[in-house]
């Protein structure tokens, strides 16, 4: 009887420890935080991003074929989606978009919202809207009212020219669209951002996989 109780207790402890380890590994899988370049005198900061069709083995051995955002930090492209920016500051964002078009599910989100002037520049041209079917991804901070659609690259054309970026990090010499816009941060806090194009190919409604895993198509803006 005593032996049975001992063994049951030992087994219970082992199971509890395994569960605790699993939960800990799950909750501690948190992308690292990148502080973006801050120019204090002008109260502005620059955020440079890249959207890619496949993050590639060099940056992510777990899910190399997932779509992802990358952020530039000290000249290097880093695979994280948590970015620290200063509060009450004008943030200039530049996104190099390398992925092909897949379309917004809700065409209304094809309109630029919440940026300075309600516009963005797409390859140097000021626009306030794109054809929602031609969006590859989008950058949105819903609680700040920021929604920016990102025009997709014409994959066929790019492949003909052999300059379609298959996996990250992509080079500026490869086919891409450059999107830039500015928005102003408010009070300190953690603001989540996400892509609204259902670009998690192969997952339910396109919103699983990279759309549902922190570190790929969604993350946080730590406003400090």
């Amino acid at each position: 009887m005593g032996k049975r109780i001992t063994w049951t207790t030992v087994l219970l402890v082992i199971v509890c420890a395994l569960v605790a380890l699993y939960i800990n590994s799950y909750t501690s899988a948190w992308p690292k935080v990148i502080t973006v370049t801050n120019v204090p005198a002008t109260r502005t900061a620059n955020l440079e991003l890249q959207t890619v069709g496949a993050v590639g083995e060099k940056l992510d051995q777990k899910n190399p074929d997932w779509v992802s955002y990358l952020v530039r930090s000290h000249g290097e492209w880093v695979h994280t989606t948590i970015w620290q920016v200063p509060a009450h500051t004008l943030i200039h964002v530049t996104i190099y978009q390398y992925d092909s078009e897949s379309g917004l599910r809700n065409p209304y989100l094809g309109q630029v919202q919440g940026t300075i002037g309600g516009v963005m520049t797409l390859n140097g041209k000021v626009v306030n809207q794109i054809n929602p079917d031609s969006a590859a991804h989008s950058f949105a901070i819903p609680s700040m009212g920021v929604f920016v659609p990102l025009e997709g690259v014409n994959e066929e054309e790019a492949e003909k020219k052999h300059d379609f970026c298959e996996e990250a990090p992509c080079e500026l010499s490869q086919a891409h669209n450059t999107i830039s816009f500015s928005f102003r941060t408010g009070a300190p806090g953690h603001y989540r951002w996400q892509c609204f194009v259902p670009c998690g190919a192969g997952y339910t409604f396109g919103n699983g996989g990279p759309m549902s895993t922190l570190g790929y198509m969604g993350g946080f803006l730590y406003v400090v």
């Binding site: 897949s102 065409p107 209304y108 809207q129 949105a140 819903p142 996400q194 339910t204 409604f205 919103n207």
Partner: protein, 282 residues
């Protein structure tokens, strides 16, 4: 032999507790149940829940108090192993219990059902064909859930789509709730509204806001990684304020209009290798 009349004593305890507890439930607990009363639906829900709680209280006390009473007075004396008294059935008690509880449950069911029907669903999603539609709907708004935000379309204002919501006070609003992907649920506690947002389903809820206020809407159906962030704030405003706001929205979101499908009660999400948008359901 035990000379105490446990039946009488327990009945007195139960009656006293009930006389104290029922008014407390009605006047103290009821108003603090946390339901919004800023619309006809919310008010009615608060009244219904208070009535149901008051009716259920004597039964809760009966069972709870008997448990405590039995534990106190019918326990095994310390250090003794005695055979308990024989368990005998009592047809009178059994029939009384079954009849009284059945009638009470029926009353609760009828009361709740009448409240739901009389008050146009009491703020709940009643499907595409509600049993009882108000004849005086003053405004329709479509609530669209999508992973992970809410947007709103206004059929009486050219089908403009907005990221936020403002509604006029003292106006019966018809909320047409739907989804573009998975199941969401649009819930506004202050207005007593809760309607599931299902893809390709028009789930209708009615509510008439009765005061000016800010309200919070949030998703109450676990819908993925950003479910917890799927909330926002709306306002109940005067009719002129609403008209001003919606006209501003029409101007602001005009660029998006040319790509929007015609207003429809539900939408057919498009899936495919290169087109994932939504279109009017045929």
């Amino acid at each position: 032999m035990d000379e105490i009349n446990h039946g009488r004593r327990f009945t007195i305890i139960w009656a006293v507790c009930t006389i104290i507890a029922v008014p407390l439930v009605i006047w103290v607990l009821g108003p603090n149940l946390g339901y919004g009363e800023a619309s006809n639906a919310g008010e009615d829900q608060a009244t219904t829940l208070t009535v149901l709680a008051a009716i259920a209280t004597p039964f809760l006390l009966l069972v709870g108090l008997y448990l405590v009473y039995a534990a106190m007075f019918f326990r095994q004396p310390r250090g003794q192993m005695l055979e308990g008294p024989a368990v005998r059935d009592d047809a009178k008690v059994q029939i009384s219990w079954i009849v009284v509880t059945s009638i009470t449950v029926l009353i609760l069911a009828v009361y709740g059902s009448v409240a739901l029907i009389q008050n146009y669903g009491d703020g709940t999603g009643s499907g595409a064909s509600p049993l009882n539609r108000p004849s005086h709907v003053g405004l329709r708004v479509q609530v669209i859930g999508q992973q992970w935000t809410w947007t709103y379309r206004w059929p009486e204002y050219g089908g403009v789509e907005t990221p936020g919501i403002e509604i006029p006070v003292n106006t019966m609003i018809e909320f047409n709730v739907t989804s573009l992907d998975v199941i969401h649920s649009w819930t506004v506690k202050e207005l007593g509204i809760k309607a599931d947002a299902n893809p390709q389903v028009n789930n209708i809820a009615f509510a008439e806001p009765n005061r000016l206020l800010s309200f919070e809407y949030r998703c109450t159906e676990l819908c993925g990684i950003w479910h917890g962030a799927m909330y926002g704030f709306g306002r109940v405003v005067t009719r002129p304020q609403f008209e001003e706001w919606i006209h501003k929205m029409q101007i602001k979101y005009r660029p998006a209009e040319k790509y929007l499908p015609p207003f429809a009660l539900t939408y057919q999400p498009k899936f495919g290798s290169h087109r994932a948008g939504f279109e009017e359901e045929s």
